[in-house]
């Protein structure tokens, strides 16, 4: 039983980092552009499918295949920003609805290109590691390490570099930042594109572990938003923490309670936390 608990917890942590990378994109986008980009899940899907295509069909080595995948996601993100999100800055409802329209379009395009037949990518790294009684596939550890590393790097970049400080200043007081010479339009577009690149990166790694379907985006954006809320929108560390907590809650919940309701446990947990601490676990008191 303990073995099951530990195993499931570790699984939850790893899935949680996937939730976390989306949550990071959600939190960044909300902080700088004032909207929640519900289509981030679709950009994750783009990254996943392009990686699969380049690795499985074209035969490129994984570390090479991953870059065009991220670029593809980022390019689509740039297009979306210029054509759509540019006009919905700070308008939460409009941004939400526009991104939902975008989901329809991207998912339909994916269905046309790749159909509903799940695609399973070949092994990138096989074999497992034994931690006591528990066995974990090496690839899962790599995924975890990469995602966590990227999230910490993002956090470091934002707190130390000039761009990061400009972004922080902008999120506190947009007018003042603008008056001090921060190119706010470029800043906002950059953040949108970066968050879609993050999602694409997450998708590329997702492809190494799970099978791909065009509907995967919808599930992950929901988890990403839940994780972002749990951790506190606006907190970068909160997105990683929120993601992991969400993943673990779902995994552990499935042990003791019916697995069919897996998605519900996370939801209930998030709602409960939200009522107790409206700003999320790490968010700022408003």
């Amino acid at each position: 039983m303990l073995q099951l608990l530990v195993g499931q917890t570790l699984n939850g942590v790893i899935v949680g980092t996937l939730y976390g990378i989306i949550a990071l994109g959600v939190t960044l986008t909300f902080g700088i552009t004032g909207i929640v980009n519900f289509a981030l899940g679709e950009f994750m899907m783009i990254g996943a499918y392009v990686t699969w295509y380049l690795f499985d069909v074209v035969g490129l080595p994984f570390p090479v295949a991953i870059w065009p995948a991220i670029a593809a996601a980022a390019a689509c993100g740039f297009a979306a920003d210029q054509l759509l999100f540019r006009f919905t800055r700070n308008n939460l409802i409009n941004g939400l609805l526009v991104s939902i329209g975008l989901i329809s379009i991207i998912e339909a395009a994916a269905l046309l290109l790749w159909t509903t037949t799940p695609k399973d990518m070949g092994y990138v790294l096989s074999g497992a590691v034994r931690l006591g009684e528990v066995s974990i596939p090496k690839m899962k550890l790599v995924v975890f390490a990469l995602l966590a590393a990227v999230m910490f790097l993002t956090y470091a970049a934002l707190s130390r570099t000039w761009i990061g400080k400009a972004a922080y200043a902008f999120s506190q007081n947009p007018e003042a930042a603008m008056l001090m010479g921060v190119r706010t339009d470029i800043l906002q577009s950059t953040v949108v594109v970066y968050s879609t690149a993050l999602a694409g990166f997450g998708g590329a790694l997702y492809a190494t572990l799970y099978s791909l379907e065009p509907s995967m985006g919808g599930l992950y954006i929901l988890k990403g938003v839940e994780a972002a809320i749990l951790g506190g929108i606006g907190s970068l560390i909160g997105s990683l923490a929120g993601g992991i907590i969400l993943g673990v809650t779902e995994a552990v919940g499935s042990i003791y309670l019916p697995g069919a309701f897996r998605d519900a446990y996370g939801l209930i947990f998030v709602v409960a936390i939200l009522l107790y601490r409206p700003s999320g676990l790490f968010g700022a008191e408003r």
Partner: protein
């Protein structure tokens, strides 16, 4: 008077006999009830609720199951459905509105509960038959002076039945919105803090708006179930909520009847144009985006403002 606008709808069956077209009208009427009621909480009170499809779906199941298990009429079966909808609305509304959470969190929490409801229905196989869905074989009976008890079955019956239900919905919304309650809704939508200092109990009125909207959605769902004869858990999906939101946005959220136009467009057009499912999805997404960016007031709203400006 505005009541005259209904006349064309009443005479349509005299001219159009095609079952296909009448069916589109019936679906549009029933979904228009869901759209108009959604506009109560969204367009008029300014709260984005993602629970609407859940109210629609839960009521569909409760009405159908009550009618088939307990062998009661459609009307009697409506009572537990509406009762449950009111109860759930009060619970969820109390949770959301009591804590002064921002509008975004209301959307997320209602989404959470909606998904929860869908999962419950999906997995409660003994009663709901899970993904396979349920057949609804009963039909409603209506007492009509002169003809006695008539079964609503067949195109003409359903046409007038659903039209009557839509007129009822619009009448209810109209009466509520024209009263002081409607003014409170507007106050909450425009400036909630100010509304509070003017003595408006925003919690109470948001709860009222949410409950009323869900109750009318419950009626819509029950009608839909009895008309199509089949219900499944996807009735409670996020996609269904999004369909309803799109109808409201497309038709216009600042009027009571705008959503009716949206319902017709989004129900009728996909059937008129032969498209693959994917092409339809792309079109639907495109229309949603175009409406937000180009016609934020929706069709009816834009027409109305042109008329005012002229």
């Amino acid at each position: 008077m505005k009541a005259l606008l209904w006349v064309p709808f009443i005479v349509v069956p005299a001219f159009i006999q095609s079952n296909f077209i009448l069916s589109i009208f019936i679906f549009s009427f029933i979904l228009a009830i869901a759209a108009v009621s959604f506009n109560l909480i969204f367009g008029f009170t300014g709260q984005l609720s993602m629970f609407h499809s859940a109210a629609f779906g839960i009521a569909a199941y409760v009405t159908s199951l009550t009618a088939s298990i307990f062998h009661v009429s459609f009307w009697l079966a409506l009572f537990p459905a509406i009762g449950l909808t009111v109860f759930i609305s009060l619970v969820i509304g109390s949770i959301c509105f009591n804590f002064q959470l921002r509008a975004f969190y209301f959307a997320v929490i209602t989404l959470a509960f909606s998904e929860l409801a869908r999962l419950v229905i999906l997995n409660w196989n003994n009663i709901t038959n899970g993904t396979l869905g349920l057949m609804v074989l009963d039909k409603p009976f209506v007492w009509i002076p002169g003809a006695g008890l008539m079964k609503i079955d067949g195109m003409f019956g359903w046409y007038f039945f659903s039209l009557a239900a839509l007129i009822f919905t619009v009448a209810v919304c109209s009466l509520v919105l024209r009263s002081w309650i409607g003014r409170c809704f507007a106050a909450i939508r425009l400036n909630e803090d100010l509304a509070q200092t003017l003595g408006i109990d925003t919690f109470r009125y948001k709860l009222l708006s949410f409950t009323l909207a869900n109750t009318l959605a419950a009626i819509s769902g029950s009608l839909y179930a009895f008309y199509t004869g089949y219900i499944e858990p996807n009735y409670l999906s996020i996609n269904q909520s999004l369909d309803i939101i799109s109808m409201v946005l497309l038709g216009g959220r600042s009027s009571i009847v705008g959503p009716i136009a949206g319902a017709f467009m989004l129900t009728g057009l996909p059937h008129m144009i032969e498209l693959s499912a994917e092409a339809r999805a792309i079109l639907y997404g495109g229309v949603l985006i175009a409406t937000i960016l180009i016609l934020p007031q929706g069709l009816i709203g834009t027409l109305a403002s042109w008329r005012r400006a002229a």
